[in-house]
């Protein structure tokens, strides 16, 4: 089971921001690093790291980092 903290550390690495600066509540486009290109990259990076495949029609609906985390715990 991946903890919230581990997940945020991984995501911060992909976003290239300090882990303390983000939380599950961090929203899409609320930081400059998370734009539509990063949305694709996060989908792939998280999918590959945690072996989950987010369905294509749900990707655009993910509006916070918590939205990604949900797939790990589902």
């Amino acid at each position: 089971m991946t903890t919230e903290k581990d997940f945020l550390v991984f995501v911060a690495g992909v976003l290239d921001v300090p882990a303390e600066s983000i939380s599950l509540g961090t929203a899409y486009e609320s930081i400059p690093e998370w734009d539509s290109v990063m949305q694709l990259r996060l989908t792939l990076e998280i999918g590959s790291e945690y072996d989950v495949e987010i369905p294509v029609d749900e990707i655009a609906d993910i509006k916070t980092l918590g939205g990604f985390y949900k797939y790990l715990t589902a």
């Binding site: 694709l40 792939l44 990076e45 590959s48």
Partner: protein, 481 residues
Amino acid sequence: MRIAILSNVTVEVLAGMLNKEHSIWLPPGFGAWIETALKPSQEMVAFDPEAIFLLLDSSHATFDADSALRAKSSLETAFPNATIIVPELEDLADEVGAFFDERMWKIGSMPWSMKGLRAIKDEINRLIRAMKGERKKVLALDFDNTLWSGVIGEDGVNGIKPYTEFQRGIKALKERGVVLVGLTKNNLADVEPVWTDERMVLKLNDFALLKIDWSDKASNLASAAKELNLGIDSFVFVDDNPAEREQMKAMLPEVVVPEVPQDEAMLTKFLRRIARLYFPELRLTDEDRRKTAQYIEESARREFAATLSVDDYLRGLKMWADVHQIADAEIPRVAQLSQKTNQFNVLTNRYTIDEVNGFAHDGGRVLLTVHSGDRFGDQGLVAFVQAVVAGDKATIVDWVMSCRTMNRRLEFAVEERLELELSRRGISHVLASWRRTLKNAPVENLFDAFGFDLVEVSADERKYELKLPRKEALKHYVDFK
């Protein structure tokens, strides 16, 4: 490195993965690759890419081969200092597997999976390393059941069947500057007839060197490396026999030893993979194309050497050199020498074409190039030296020579010319230094040999000075042109 990427699919995600290590430029908007290539924007020109990657996907998007060719040649004209690279994405996809992600294509016009993206990123970095001169130089080939089916010592020349398609691929590699060495356990007399067999694509003179005897292949490869003056780590060894491969790996771990497919039908694909991984095709200089001829000449030189004293040998070589201020046409070759030369290189500064271009037009620098040859042939541009001058002082910042011309006292002739030029500029005081790398031990005492005074020394660095004019002339056997 400054990299421009032009593509027929979305590459922003890939750019995001590369921009930590490199500075990446993408044309704005989607699908602009062909327009940008045919008529580069001012932004692209201002970015001044060192490498331009054309990433053309044919699995999900389309492009026509003709446009791709036109794009490539247009970029080559517009960016003469950049290396234009078109990676083989199809081969890469084949090899990696799970290369694509349909979801990404649907929502982002980007066909690749995470695995695919990482493979492309690695491929780009590998090609960049190759661009910097870290590619392999020699393909060492077994004969029986590698170049032909059958064993020539048992079946005779009429009993073997040459793998012509495979040989054609190898010949193409040789044409682009890869040096071929034959390593086979056979009797010389048994192999001889194969060179006149017209079914053979590879001919005797395609090989720079042949080792045909019953010694172990690792020893033969090591001695070939010595004879060609190349590092063992610049060899790729291809042999169908797993036992030979294992022995090579155990004895010479620096040699690249790929698995060779048993099925003839797979050989062409195998060779394309070898070419892509170890001998990527980048911009060739004339020097590369002449390489095999030069190595063959080198073998002739050595046979000649075996019969004479060193002085007589060097005198008899009738070496000549043309040492002159760098010309613009020589800039790419000098950058290449700086990138590739590991042994005869005192400070191992690596330069891009741009940097060399800057030095060439800087009045505060003396940058001399050396073109040399001997009775066996023309060796091309084999060395360069650079000094920064200020007042009556000059500091040697580069002393670089191709290993092909080592051990012939050519360096003494070049040093003489450098000092002559420095004296002409009113220099009376020359500073020089050597800094240790993994491979440049051969020149650790270069300046001692030149008669410089050692002024400071540590384990990894030696600093020297010399007052001009020097007292004793440097001894060499070179005629200047």
